[in-house]
């Protein structure tokens, strides 16, 4: 009987790892290097300071082209900001609305507003970006194989044309105006290198290197993809502890019940 349980467990494990292998096998390009993130692991949480800096990078750089449509400004309070701090952050942002006469107007953003979209629609976004609309970033970390590692690798993975080897230029038919990215599938990416050293000036005095900006904005986007993650893990710890205790009790009772039959 024990052997059967073991073989059953092995079969189950094989099924689960099989599914895991699917995810790994699906990546075609260079694998993004594994980085260590504050939100990793069963107890990992979001680094609030990094995510707040990441919002700054998003607001000052990414937001020019990328929407974040599933988030509202009020959500920023979950990053440890007060409502007045968030109001300060969005005081210069205006959003489209209709006035009482039904005429389109722009008015200052409120906490309850969704993040302002940089383009009125997909066609306008595509027209302004060489025919390819920049993707919405709300769930981008969950929507890419490799997750946060991939986003960070992509943001830091640009190679200038003159640094490419002749073989790379030939193999991927790269032209001088193309953007070559080590981690993008097919390598040629429509997005010009978005970040560089000192692209933003951090209020908390953190030195704004390319790596720092990329890491911060990835932390922010990871949070944006799953703002409830900490709640999920906390609940999970309680649920598992409860079930373990329950399983122990059940096993004890089961043994007691069966004691006269074995």
């Amino acid at each position: 009987m024990r052997r059967l349980i073991v073989s059953g467990a092995i079969a189950l494990a094989a099924l689960v790892t099989g599914a895991g292998a699917v995810a790994i096998a699906a990546g075609t390009e260079a694998h993004p290097p594994k980085r260590s993130w504050h939100f990793q692991g069963p107890f990992g949480t979001y680094d609030r300071a990094a995510a707040q800096r990441g919002y700054q990078v998003y607001a000052e750089v990414c937001a020019a082209c990328h929407s974040l449509s599933l988030l509202a400004y009020r959500n920023l309070m979950e990053l440890g900001l007060t409502d007045n701090q968030v109001k300060g952050l969005i005081k210069d942002i205006v959003v489209p609305d209709l006035n009482d006469d039904g005429q389109p107007i722009e008015r200052p953003a409120r906490l309850s507003d969704s993040f302002r979209k940089p383009f009125p629609n997909v066609a306008a976004a595509a027209a302004a970006n060489n025919g390819k609309a920049p993707p919405d970033l709300s769930v981008i970390v969950k929507a890419r194989e490799g997750g946060a590692d991939y986003i960070y690798a992509l943001l830091t993975g640009y190679v200038p044309f003159d640094k490419l080897s002749p073989e790379q230029v030939k193999e991927f038919s790269v032209k001088k105006d193309d953007n070559f990215n080590t981690y993008f599938p097919g390598h040629k990416i429509a997005m010009t290198p978005p970040l560089a050293d000192d692209k933003v000036t951090y209020a908390d005095g953190t030195k704004a290197t390319l790596g720092q900006e990329a890491s911060d904005v990835t932390e922010f986007l990871a949070w944006a993809s799953e703002p409830w993650m900490e709640d999920r893990k906390r609940t999970g710890v309680r649920v598992i502890l409860f079930l373990l205790a329950l399983a122990g009790l059940m096993y004890a009772v089961k043994r007691q019940v069966w004691s006269n039959k074995h």
């Binding site: 073989s7 079969a11 599914a19 699917v22 699906a26 075609t28 709300s138 598992i240 059940m250 096993y251």
Partner: protein, 411 residues
């Protein structure tokens, strides 16, 4: 209160007695779930029927709650699912339970099917019980497939495209069938709406077939690891408290594993591309179904002809319907079948290999590997099973279940 098996129970509570005299639900529960004589020698493989039932109830419960918050429209479905995660109180929990519940329902059912095959539970007089089980499995596949379409991500859309297009392989009427399934000339809002309606309907049909499955089970009772019929009271125990307790323990252990995935890796079994909203103009590099369909997907692609692949894939399930008649051995349990036992375990390996083949793009060594694995799958059912029953010499069997239990305890 309760009486021993055979005589009708007497209820001391007047209300219960009054109801039972008119609608004997309490007698039924007493007979089928309390005194019901059950072989005393189940191993933990026999937990998975109860586990699958719990998962079915859990899927319906979470599904109904999700349905109250979901919008079946191509322009709104994706965002409405995200709204459930973000803005519905504990919505993320309900969705993670449902999304991973499908995977764990399949895990439970796959173990349950393996149990049935390894211990010959499908043999006389339980053929209809087995066939009803295969019907449940088919209904589950249809339900899971349509459920995966609902979030309207890239894999939802393209998975639906690939699977519905299979029907175009049918000669003459194929294209008309596909148009009929889609509700139009391409996958669109009518497709999403009908899939949603059916995804809500089919689970209740599954409940009905599960009820028949249980009725059929309670005619002759459960099989057991020896495959020998109980010969008297010394071979059985009452279902309650012996198996209610053992099943309860097994269910909780299963829920622990399930919770680990729900709370600490809710997206590990899914595909990242399904977090990209469906785009009919952009085909994903690799279109893969959910993991529990991968072995069948591999069989589909192993045959170099479209119609042939579709026939092989459906044949892989159809063969299960006639399993009771393909197996010519009169011995139920693999424990006493020295050759078949290994064939059966090899079949498990084969199905796992097919799963890997289905997960990888059909190129290089994956093609011959998936073809060899497909071949073995059918050889197992169509050649090994009928032939082994004739030539295999079974091991000596214990005279009764009680003897088997006592011998094992002594040894």
């Amino acid at each position: 209160m309760a009486s021993s098996h055979g005589t009708p129970p007497v209820f001391n509570n007047k209300v219960i007695a009054w109801i039972d005299h008119r609608l004997p639900i309490f007698s039924y529960i007493e007979k089928e779930y309390h005194t019901f004589p059950t072989p005393r020698n189940f191993n933990y493989f026999w937990n998975f029927g109860a586990i699958a039932t719990v998962m079915l109830v859990l899927m319906i419960a979470t599904g109904v709650v999700l349905a109250t918050n979901y919008t079946p429209h191509v322009l709104m479905a994706f965002d409405s699912v995200e709204r459930i995660d973000r803005d519905v109180p504990q919505g993320w929990l309900i969705r993670d339970l449902h999304m991973n519940g499908a995977s764990f329902f399949f895990i439970a059912v796959y173990v349950h099917i393996f149990r049935g095959m390894y211990y010959g539970s499908y043999k006389a007089p339980r053929e209809l019980l087995w066939i009803l089980g295969v019907v449940i499995f088919l209904l589950m596949m249809a339900t899971a497939f349509m459920g995966y379409v609902l979030p309207w991500g890239q894999m939802s859309f393209w998975g639906a495209t690939v699977i519905t297009s299979l029907f175009s392989a049918i000669p003459v009427v194929g294209d008309s069938i596909v148009t009929w399934l889609w509700g139009g000339f391409s996958i669109g809002n009518p497709t999403l709406n009908r899939f949603y309606a059916l995804h809500y309907l089919l689970p209740f049909i599954i409940v009905a077939v599960v009820a028949l499955h249980v009725v059929a089970l309670h005619v002759h009772g459960s099989n057991n690891p020896t495959g020998i019929d109980p010969k008297g009271p010394q071979d059985t125990v009452p279902f309650h408290p012996y198996y209610t307790m053992k099943d309860g323990f097994g269910v909780v252990v299963f829920l622990i594993v399930y919770s680990l995935v729900v709370f600490f890796g809710p997206d590990m079994l899914g595909d990242a591309a399904n977090y990209i909203p469906a785009d009919p103009l952009v085909t994903p590099t690799h279109i893969v179904p959910e993991w529990y369909f991968l072995p069948f997907y591999a069989i589909l692609r192993a045959v170099p002809d479209k119609l042939g692949g579709v026939i092989a894939m459906f044949g892989a399930i159809a063969v299960l319907f006639v399993l009771p008649w393909l197996d010519t051995s009169r011995v139920r349990s693999s424990t006493f079948r020295p050759i078949y036992k290994w064939c059966m375990l090899l079949l498990v390996v084969d199905v796992v290999v097919l799963g890997f083949c289905g997960a990888n793009p059909p190129a290089g060594f994956w093609i011959p590997l998936s073809q060899a694995a497909t071949l073995y799958y059918f050889v197992h059912f169509l050649i090994l099973l009928p032939v082994l029953g004739k030539i295999e010499r079974p091991l000596p069997m214990p005279p009764s279940i009680a003897d088997a239990v006592l011998k094992k305890k002594a040894g």
